[in-house]
Amino acid sequence: MASVKFQKASRVYPGGTVPAVDAIDLEIADGEFLVLVGPSGCGKSTTLRMLAGLEEVNGGQILIGDRDVTNIPPKDRDIAMVFQNYALYPHMTVAENMGFALKIAGVAKEERAARVLDAAKLLDLEPYLNRKPKALSGGQRQRVAMGRAIVRKPQVFLMDEPLSNLDAKLRVQTRTQIASLQRRLGVTTVYVTHDQVEAMTMGDRVAVLKDGVLQQVATPRELYETPKNVFVAGFIGSPAMNLLQLPIVEGGVQFGNTVVKIDRAVLSKTNAKLVTLGVRPENLVVSGNEGISVEVDVVEELGSDGYLYGSATIDGAHHELVSRVDGRDHPHKGDTVFLTPAGGIMHLFDVETGERLN
């Protein structure tokens, strides 16, 4: 077990000029569960593969523990990886798949069998040890892939969207299992996903990437409550945060027919006449006649809660807004309602740089 350090690590694909991963600085503590999240093509998988040694590092360094592994081949890095499609060896049984790395490492047969059995017990794979991957279900294959990683007791676990090939229910279940397993084993883990719900529920910390650039690394709560910029604000949270560009007026920001009070010190950080105001759906409430006038397009009922999707026109520009409403008692399609931020929970961003102001 060890910590992992990225020091200005970059990757430029041959023939490309724009780096797929651009000078990433990231420290992952020993035993930590770090999730890399971002939209597709943001470089999260490339970052993981650089750590694995499957992708060349064109600039900077990567350290595992105190060892510089930048130019060390994957086989010598003592890393285990779980692939999206599991990458099991089709010609080997479950036991052989799980014991392959130990066999290569020259571990004695008895010890190998014992360690495979331990991992199999942990993952409920005992009855399947003599089967080949083809005779397993998707969920079982996923567990074999996990088992193959666990058996080795590596320094670092890498997981590249290991749940994306499972059905929705199994995904939620396995999500919890992986998280608790990781905590029990205490192995440093880097987990890649495009699903921000997975990122929020599993990670000790979450690193958000966009276009190969690290946007923010923080605990899930921090990411949710104080996103560093507009991208993180919009990416984390489901449904996404409402982001509106609104004019700055005396004492605050013009929000429909009212003025939302904002500290002068905050607004003085920007020179622009507009500011990006972010409000999460749960903080945007239906009020009597204050705020932005919205025509209700649809209300999604999710049982206890509902999400109201509406459209508004502010200064001639069309905006879509989402607000969380009561699941039973809510406005209906076609109604016109006023929405206003509640409890003063707002996120303000510079219109030009997208950086957080408050």
């Binding site: 694995a52 040694g53 499957l54 081949p73 994957p74 086989k75 010598d76 890095r77 890393i79 285990a80 990886m81 692939f83 999206q84 499609n85 990458a87 099991l88 060896y89 089709p90 010609h91 080997m92 392959f100 790395a101 290569i104 490492a105 080949k132 991957p133 083809k134 005779a135 193959r148 080795r152």
Partner: protein, 335 residues
């Protein structure tokens, strides 16, 4: 001259025309027959259509199989138990002849050497080249060069290699043999290559390997491309070195293709005829079963012994095909 030319041309056309008409009318008749059968089949009741369907599609294929394969096979087996002009039964005499005559034993031994050496060596070389060129840039150039001999006819290949093995005893004449040149360069007096037994058999075998390696490489390289990148990467992370990956991941994962290549080449080698016929004519103890079969049947006009050799050849192929089928079944447990 001009007149003769004109007459010749006219006669040529006169010969072609009736044949062409026969051909076209034959095709039309066949098409009409097919249409007729389908029309009739369509008119039967829904219940009857179930088996009419099988009948319509199976009967032509079955008929062709019987005429082209099963009947000749049965007749060959029958002839192998009869005498030279197929007039009386002689029991297993032809087989006793095949397994006791020293020159035929030499033929069987040579065939055994061919069947052992050609598939193993060409598959091995093909496998190594496929692995070395796998995921390599501009591998296509290398691969097409190695695949090229496959496109040359065996007779053509034999003639090319005859030049390589050429022997010129007279010092006055130009020696064009490449192999002779090499051995002279190494300070050795070249022998008359194709006369030296058992060397000559191996020289002929080299030609077949030259042809078959390309085939092995292309098939195996396609199979290697089918191995998912992730599996290769997983094995890298599991700590496997290049060689261990080749032996423990690549080879088992393309085993089915290796078996297909091995068996295909084995069967092709069992039937080898052109190379021997072209290069030595089966002389100088290089004879193989297919060539001897030809000699017995069409030179000596002994249908009995010829057929017996054909049956022996057939029996040699059977176990290989059975093994092939078994391996393909095994493969299904993995994919």
């Amino acid at each position: 001259m001009h007149v003769i030319d004109l007459v010749a041309r006219k006669t040529t056309w006169e010969i072609i025309a009736p044949n062409l008409i026969t051909l076209i009318s034959g095709l039309v008749a066949f098409a009409a027959l097919v249409v007729l059968i389908f029309l009739l089949a369509e008119r039967t009741s829904v219940k009857a259509q179930e088996w009419v369907k099988y009948l319509v599609f199976l009967v032509p294929a079955l008929a062709l199989l019987i005429i082209g394969l099963i009947y000749p096979a049965a007749r060959t087996i029958l002839l192998s138990f009869m005498n030279a002009n197929s007039e009386e039964f002689v029991g297993v005499e032809n087989y006793i002849w095949a397994f006791t005559r020293p020159e035929i034993l030499q033929v069987l031994l040579n065939t055994a050497i061919w069947v052992f050496v050609v598939p193993t060596v060409s598959t091995f070389i093909g496998l190594v080249i496929a692995y070395l060129t796998d995921r390599m840039k501009s591998a296509a150039v290398v691969k097409s060069l190695i695949f090229m001999p496959m496109a040359i006819s065996m007779v053509g290949a034999s003639i090319i290699w005859k030049f390589v093995y050429d022997y010129e005893p007279s010092a006055k004449k130009v020696d064009i043999g490449l192999l002779s040149a090499i051995s002279k360069g190494l300070g050795m007096e070249p022998p008359n290559w194709l006369l030296e037994n058992p060397l000559n058999t191996f020289l002929l075998i080299a030609v077949m390997i030259w042809i078959q390696t390309g085939f092995a490489m292309v098939v195996l390289s396609a199979a290697m491309k089918n191995i998912p990148d992730e599996v290769v990467e997983a094995s890298m992370l599991d700590g496997a070195s290049q060689l261990k990956r080749f032996i423990q991941i690549t080879i088992p994962m393309i085993r089915a293709s290796i078996v297909v290549v091995l068996t295909t080449i084995t069967i092709g080698t069992l039937k080898v005829f052109d190379i021997v016929r072209t290069m030595t004519g089966g002389n100088f103890q290089t004879n193989v079963i297919a060539n001897e079969m030809y000699t017995q049947t069409f030179r000596s006009l002994n249908y009995g012994t010829g057929s017996a050799l054909a049956v022996i050849l057939f029996l040699g192929v059977v176990p290989i095909i059975l093994y092939n089928i078994k391996q393909l079944r095994l493969e299904r447990t993995e994919r």
